[in-house]
Amino acid sequence: MSATLVLWCVGVLLAAAAIGTATARLAAAGPIVYGTSLVASVLALGGAVDGLLGPAPPSSATLPLGLPWLGAHFRVDALAAFFLIVVNLGSAAASLYGLGYGRHESAPHRVLPFFPVFLAGMNLVVLADDAFTFLLSWEFMSLSSWALVMAHHRVGENVRAAYVYLIMASFGTLCLLLAFALLAGVDGAYGFEAMRAHHAGPVTAALVLTFALLGAGSKAGLVPLHVWLPLAHPAAPSHVSALMSGVMTKVAVYGFIRIVLDLLGAPEWGWSMVVLALGGITSVLGVLYALMQHDLKRLLAYHTVENIGIIFIGLGLAMAFQANQVTWAAALALTAALFHVLNHSLFKSLLFFGSGAVLTATGERDMEHLGGLIHRMPLTAFAFLVGCVAISALPPLNGFVSEWLTFQAILQSPDLPQWGLKILIPGVGALLALSAALAAACFVKAFGVTFLGRPRSPAAANAREVDRFSLVAMFAFAALCLLAGILPGLVIDGLAPVVSGLVGDRMPVQLAVPWLSIVPIAEPRSSYNGLLIFLFITLSASLAVYAIHRFASRALRRAPPWDCGFPDPRPITQYTAGSFAQPIRRVFGTSVFLAREHVEMSPPGDRRPARLTVKLHDLVWETLYAPVAAAVDATAGRLNILQFQTIRRYLSLVVAVLVTLLLVLAIWL
């Protein structure tokens, strides 16, 4: 039943896209398209929740589209239902946000037709039950998001970003195609049912896993396949960036989980080491890149890379435990990873909405031109602050719960028999802790430089609060972040059908624990109660405020800030984004980015200012992509002579190939 409902919603979305194409230049087109998308997403969300929590068995549907002997199969089981919830929650919020944000869109005819198609594509990927439908929907999703990235093609580097995106997306689809081809086997059984039943040999399994990692990993943003992400995500309009970072990367994670954990069955423990190592490196590199950025949206995009690393750490742990048949620990690790999927879609979308609001209000994305926005846009600032606190994994919000669960899963690793895992997992734990600490630093910088301090440009000084729709979308997600943080037991129990479907075990029932705590393994080992921590902090703070205001002096006066006797009202004297990151750049950047600072002082007597130059190298790009691009260019240059041959040469080429084929046939037969 839920499958048909979601399919109808997808149909409504495609109809909205058609309407959008036809009426794009009318003023009413925006509200119509976004409104319809909102309604469709909410309905699909309802269907997905029913599919996850309802008592009915997985529902499926078949449409007579696509290949004539195959048809298009769709199915909503627990895993698909959960990811449909994530997708549609994000879509609903982005549509709501778009109702307000879309009014400032300079090229609506480039955005409105593709937005509902993008939402439809994401839903279809999660619904798909056979390889053909999956790949078709995946391409739908990629191409519509590519069109959205190209929406502002006259601005700066957007065309290059879209080009890199297209190449990486094609590469990803190719890898997934090969993975599905290997899973389908010689008889070409494309349905997921058949793939599940068919047991792959070890070589096939290894190849499938590699291709799935490359294909889904490139779309999710695993290092070293992440290079398109910080180029493409900021280039799109803000609500689309929120969808790409918050939702599309999760669809890629869904693809990985579906192929590796569901269709392939439990892989060897050696592969979990690969996934763990990649996840750990991705999380640390992602946040270090983010710390070096001063473009707000690019910072958020790089930070998505870090969170994907955290999710893959959880998935790697689940694979490691599953390979050793420790199913309760695998359930814990998988729950942690899926909880982080939900959390990240919530707070990353919230943060992108906030940066979109800042962009609308000031026209600036560069933090070095912002500042002091907490006075001009207090509501946006508050919602953005909640997002920053959540993403820095601070109690009592939701980011902390998923990180805590991941740490609890890591603490179970000494029970594993393999030495490689026993030594790698604490190392990965150290990397995870490092990335969490650096993430907090990153978001102190992002919030502090953008919203606090004094305005660094007239645009920031004249900003105004944004419209109601954007604010409602932001506050709704902020409220969800808080709720997921203080009632995590509900989410964990909601995830139980998904986890038991994949690893065959689940975490203990959390609703049975008194006081709404969460107990991942057993009471004396560890427990956490978000609600009580939240209440304690609120009560203590209120008590402190009351006591201080009752018994202490309540006088307050305003004065200029402390300036050591040299008053300088120019905002240029405050810390910039680059200066805030400088200590961390010195500590980590010298080895990771080969960061070098160079100061040119003008000679004494000369009144020119000194110059500070910072050189950073993107080692992934320079060691992997630049040589490949150069090689492709060189090869293409060599092969270019084929364009300029005479007719006789072309004829001889044809004859040569014909003769070679005949020779091969002669030898082989």
Binding site: P378, A437, V444, F536, S553
Partner: protein, 315 residues
Amino acid sequence: MHDLAVQGGQLLLVLLMAPLLTGFVRKVKARLLRRQGASIIQPYRDLARLLQKDVVLADNASWLFRLAPYLIFAATWVAAALVPTFATSLLFNWTADLIAIAALLGSVRFFLALAGLDVGTSFGGIGSSREMMIASLAEPAILMIVFTLALVAKSTQLSTISDVMLSAHVGLRISLGLVLVGLIIVAIAENARIPVDNPATHLELTMVHEAMILEYSGRHLAVIELAASLKLLLYVSLIACIFVPWGLVGAGAGLGAYLLGSAAWVVKLAVGGALLALFETLTAKMRVFRVPVFLGAALMLGLLGTLLLFVSRGL
């Protein structure tokens, strides 16, 4: 009911003892430097004086600047109330384990750093950026330390860890020694003590914590100073409850045992404070960019402790 009284007692006791500990450390330091030093109860007088003063707020300070001291104090107080001081049977010790307590202190640091950036002067920027650099290594160090302790005690709950350390079969493990050194290094860094930061300086080249709270005055400053004293008390109690757990009262003991436990705790605080003062007098403050190496050493100690545990018996 019993546990509730213990919890309430601890809440009040940590609040009352925190300024006393700070005053004691300053007194011992002064005596070591052959000065008379201010009286031990001077911090109480300082707090009372600050509470009576006006708050002088910068022109462009926001609501976050005014709210931050109370949030900082609340989070530190909640964390301090959950670390066993004289008894392990706190009513709410299952709400937060060691990881959650470390993360609560992380929230404290987050809001303190934001408050430093709020006014928009370079002092605050210096403090916040250096503080986040120190935090980026201190937090993983403390998480690796928690990891090692959790491997020994098979739990991350502080009360369980203290019980395991009290029992006989822990033995003499090198990993615990490494973890102790690492925890001391992290405690010094987090509490802004020499050799990481100087709590008594106002020179911009040497400030970290003081730079972030430079703009605070009056009752706000009083609340922040109290929170800093609470944090010091928290760390000393944490080290005491894990590594020197004798005297901690278990569940269901009589009043005499509680009094003895409290006395033991006061003695541990005094010894810890005196050792801290001695260490601060003997060492010089490090260059700022030597601090990451110092904290990196704590992280390595935590990792090394974990690795060596695999070699030891019983794992």
